[in-house]
């Protein structure tokens, strides 16, 4: 296992750590939400909280696509998979996500043909090779993944592959952030913006956060230094009384996003009136569905889908974790009844889920001696974005 002192440029990290501390007003507490599950993974893996003063708290947001899928949608997907001549295809991350009646893994063991794929295009290939089967792709993910699904639907249409459809569970990040901002449970000082989602949507959609809610947002890369740098930029904004959208990850994220990707999404998908998110409940216009022009590739039109809402297990507090209200270890079943091997909630399933990340790495991090107390040289230059 690699610990924080082994990552690249640990000296720079210590310097940043000192500058972050210097920016914190005495007596003030800061809460920043990292929206993206990839960031959560980095934070725990590298013990980044050890590099921050006690007064800076990172809270984990809803940006783990597997984690926000409600149980009813897993049941719906399994109901589709159990229909005659169906091959259900999915990313590996979905296999162990529990529905009301078990997971894909359980359904597979019971005889349903469920296959893991790397790409929706692999799913399309299975459809091409099995003309007598109905091949369904379990489409999940935020705007990072939606363009790939959209391009695959366009390809299926161009090839006339009518035995290929998608079960569309794509969600959009902005309504989730809005729901969190409107929630009375949480007082946030700023956001670490998602990296890969922003590659697609760009930085402009976050403007309302800075403008209407007076909170800064910094789009961040995934390396430890990226995240520390982003915290530093957020604190500078607060110190200067600014709230703006900044792009720390400009080496990958274009300010305007990827127009081709947005066009592909817009061509094949439209916003649903509402969608249920695990933990956040029903959110208006927060998810995508297949446009009628591509109805033949829409599993919800091709198959009978039960569409039954299933309440989360009582013991599970994924909802509170996804909203950033609870830390993983504050959940009653964390690490006891709920582990990565036998997850009760989605946050323990995906490697990007806050609970799994904390279970795998964070516990060790908290036990370590705080290394950030040694060293810092205030003259070391801060890496520019």
């Amino acid at each position: 296992m690699r610990f924080v002192d082994e990552f690249r440029d640990a000296a720079k990290a210590r310097a940043l750590s000192a500058q972050i501390s210097a920016l914190c007003e005495p007596g003030r507490h800061y809460k920043f939400m990292e929206v993206c599950g990839g960031h959560t993974h980095t934070i725990y893996k590298h013990g980044l909280e050890d590099y921050l003063p006690e007064t800076v708290t990172l809270v984990h947001g809803p940006g783990c696509p597997v984690c926000v899928i409600p149980m009813g949608r897993v049941d719906d997907a399994i109901a589709i998979a159990e229909q005659p001549d169906v091959i259900m295809t999915t990313f590996g991350d979905m296999m162990r996500v529990p529905g009301g009646n078990g997971s894909f893994l359980d359904a597979n063991a019971a005889g349903a043909d469920i296959r893991m794929v790397y790409s929706p295009l692999d799913s399309l290939k299975i459809a091409r090779e099995n003309p007598d089967k109905r091949v369904v792709f379990m489409a999940i993910g935020f705007e990072t993944t939606a363009p790939s699904t959209a391009m695959t639907v366009l390809r299926a249409a161009a090839e006339g592959l009518e035995n290929f459809s998608i079960f569309c569970n794509h969600v959009t990040i902005i309504p989730a952030i809005k729901a969190i901002l409107d929630s009375p449970d949480l007082r946030l000082d700023g956001f670490i913006g998602p990296g890969h989602v922003s590659t697609v949507i760009g930085c402009r959609p976050y403007d309302f956060i800075a403008r209407d809610h007076n909170k800064p947002l910094v789009c961040a890369g995934f390396e430890p230094l990226d995240i520390l740098q982003s915290v530093y930029q957020l604190l500078i904004q607060l110190a200067e009384g600014r709230s703006e959208v900044e792009n720390q990850y400009s080496r990958v994220v274009p300010w305007d996003g990827n127009p081709r990707a947005l066009k592909a999404i817009g061509e094949t998908m439209e916003l649903r009136p509402y969608f249920e998110w695990r933990g956040l409940g029903f959110i208006s216009h927060s998810a995508l569905q297949v446009r009628e022009a591509y109805a033949v590739h829409d599993a919800e039109r091709v198959f009978d889908v039960p569409g039954v809402r299933v309440a989360d297990p009582k013991a599970c507090q994924c909802g509170e974790v996804l909203k950033g209200v609870l830390k993983p270890w504050e959940c009653k079943v964390f690490g006891t009844a709920c582990t990565p091997e036998t997850p009760i909630g989605t946050c323990m399933v995906s490697s990007e889920g806050a609970c799994a990340a904390y279970y795998n790495f964070g516990r060790f991090s908290r036990d370590r001696v705080r290394q950030a107390t040694a060293l810092p040289s205030p003259t070391v230059r801060v890496p520019s974005s």
Partner: protein
């Protein structure tokens, strides 16, 4: 599935200009480059790959840093590479 993996473009397929052969840590696989501008990448360029699609062109330094980072995160990266090994995009 959420990881962006850097790959070096080896060739653009002649009969399928929306596909490119890329090298990811010595593994050669076809990916779709239809989300990039036409002619944006060619052999020797680096791209960030997400579930079989090049999402953005990146420079070599970023690619190296991203790969070093991914190799350090362990299981999630290993699972992604195992999935990529099974991929046969056409």
């Amino acid at each position: 599935m959420c990881l962006g993996i850097p790959g070096e473009v080896v060739e653009i397929l002649v009969d399928r200009p929306d596909l490119a052969m890329v090298d990811v840590s010595g593994v050669k696989r076809a990916i779709n480059i239809g989300l990039l501008d036409k002619g944006e990448v060619g052999p020797g360029d680096w791209v960030l790959i997400h579930v079989g699609f090049a999402m953005s062109k990146i420079d070599e330094e970023e690619a190296k840093a991203a790969m070093e980072f991914l190799e350090g995160i362990g299981q999630a990266y290993e699972e992604e590479m195992a999935a990529l090994l099974e991929s046969r995009i056409e």
